[in-house]
């Protein structure tokens, strides 16, 4: 299997505190990688470093076999779609106008806008100002903008935030189709084990900035037959952190 992402000794320090410590992440082509960890474990920081939004204190990021640095940054980002923290949008513009801005920066045909709006089922509300959007609609718009260029790699940070149960279900099903349908590789982060369990094929578990487990999700199930997945996860992340 092709490695899409490889980080070596990835570290981020804010002052004296480690947010991410010596992280070696491997993400393989055409797979869904679930990035799991309690709140504040360093998930967002790691994903930001992958995207060049934060610079590592130490360590390297390679994406598509290219080193993430100021020279390769633009080449890499052409093939990456992302939704980090909360969805980004200009609230005085409509959904379609927001996507138009991104489409021109990404050099993708205007037809893509209609396509992604349909995928996230916002095509009916595309001419509404985003200021009037509900949290769930904003989240869908965020996903639409990440999908806009049909990138090889999709990085989604807590994509089900703010969605209602039906929306969560829908988002989950959508993400599961992406590798097969568009040949994408997907990283999806979450603090909910149940969610990752239903989507991911591979899993990375992070706690206090350190990678506690990385590998196929099935293998995690096998680790200790006597325990539930929940219990294994709690063992790995430290019991004091409640989910």
């Amino acid at each position: 299997m092709n490695e899409i992402i490889r980080t070596t000794g990835l570290t981020k320090k804010y002052g004296e505190n480690y947010s991410v410590r010596n992280l070696d992440m491997r993400v393989f082509e055409n797979r869904i990688y679930g990035f799991l960890g309690p709140n504040g474990a360093g998930k967002s920081t790691t994903l930001k470093m992958l995207l060049g939004l934060a610079s590592p204190t130490k360590g390297e990021v390679d994406i598509f076999g290219q080193r993430m640095n100021s020279k390769n940054r633009i080449e890499i980002l052409k093939e990456v779609g992302s939704l980090i923290e909360s969805p980004s949008y200009y609230s005085h513009l409509t959904a379609a106008e927001n996507l138009k801005i991104l489409a021109s920066l990404l050099d993708v045909p205007r037809g893509n806008i209609e396509k992604v709006l349909q995928i996230v089922r916002l095509d009916k509300q595309q001419n509404k100002k985003t200021a009037a959007f509900s949290l769930g609609m904003k989240q869908r718009l965020g996903l639409a903008s990440a999908l806009l260029s049909f990138p090889k790699l999709l990085i989604l940070d807590e994509p089900t935030n703010g969605l209602d149960p039906a929306g969560i279900q829908e988002m989950r099903e959508l993400i599961k189709t992406l590798p097969r349908q568009y040949g994408m590789t997907v990283i999806v982060s979450s603090h909910l084990l149940s969610e990752i369990d239903q989507m991911a094929e591979d899993i990375g578990i992070i706690a206090n900035g350190k990678m506690m487990y990385q590998g196929e999700l099935n293998m995690l199930h096998e680790m200790d037959k006597n325990k539930t997945l929940e219990e294994i996860f709690l063992d790995l992340t430290g019991k004091e952190q409640s989910l």
């Binding site: 939004l53 633009i74 980090i84 969805p87 980004s88 200009y90 513009l93 106008e97 021109s104 920066l105």
Partner: protein
């Protein structure tokens, strides 16, 4: 790549009629300055030149700096709101060009304002019965005013880039405009960034040519613009979002 970014900037400003403010603002001094000119016609004898001072004095020192400050703050503010930096900085475009495209966008507005100020000047002068407007000088004043305004725009964009607050950079623009008047009076108008617009527009003494010469003025402006652009680009590329 820069054209993509400029297009994106233009689209972002849709539904935000900032231009309206820049359209209304010069009308006030044109109208009131002309009335004032008529009221003091015995004291002010150099016709077009006196009228120019009436039109542009407050504009250069108080109002255009603040308006530019607001515009720059607004342009940066929409990126700070709703996590837009996250998106913009993961687009496959050069980070240096992001700042430059914003600077060009603001500069374009400065140019339009200057043209509008020039046009209002000719209209109101003709309306009060003066003949033969000094077109040559007007063009030079407006172009140099634009260049000086670009210096101010580059500082203000830089300030709004690293000061998250909306009002603070505008307060600085206001103080900057005042300092511009002070430095110009002390004879440093040709090297102080906040004086350059007023200096270029010759709003105090329109009859005199710029003492440092046209080339000198252009060089100073270009150096300032380059300086603030480079600093801002470095901030933008080094910064964690």
């Amino acid at each position: 790549m820069i054209f993509k970014l400029l297009k994106a900037e233009r689209m972002k400003l849709k539904r935000a009629p900032v231009w309206l403010a820049f359209f209304i603002m010069p009308i006030i001094p044109a109208l009131l300055g002309t009335i004032n000119y008529l009221g003091n016609i015995e004291i002010l004898q150099s016709e077009w030149y006196s009228l120019w001072t009436q039109h542009t004095l407050f504009t250069c020192y108080f109002f255009l700096p603040i308006m530019l400050g607001v515009y720059c703050a607004y342009i940066m503010r929409i990126e700070y709101n709703n996590h837009n930096w996250n998106k913009i900085l993961t687009m496959p475009v050069s980070r240096n060009l992001i700042f430059i495209s914003k600077l060009i966008t603001v500069s374009f507005m400065v140019l339009i304002s200057e043209i509008w100020i020039g046009a209002l000047f000719v209209i109101s002068g003709t309306a009060v019965g003066m003949s033969a407007p000094p077109y040559g000088s007007i063009v030079v004043w407006c172009l140099f005013g634009t260049l000086g305004g670009m210096v101010m725009a580059s500082i203000q964009l830089m300030l709004s880039l690293f000061i998250k607050s909306f009002a603070l950079p505008i307060g600085i623009a206001f103080a900057g405009g005042l300092s511009g008047l002070l430095f110009l009076a002390k004879g440093f108008g040709h090297i102080w960034p906040y004086s350059l617009m007023a200096y270029g527009m010759n709003s105090n003494s329109p009859q005199r040519m710029i003492e440092s010469g046209y080339t000198g003025f252009v060089v100073v402006c270009v150096v300032f613009i380059a300086f603030f652009t480079i600093i801002s680009s470095v901030i933008l590329s080094k910064r964690d979002v």
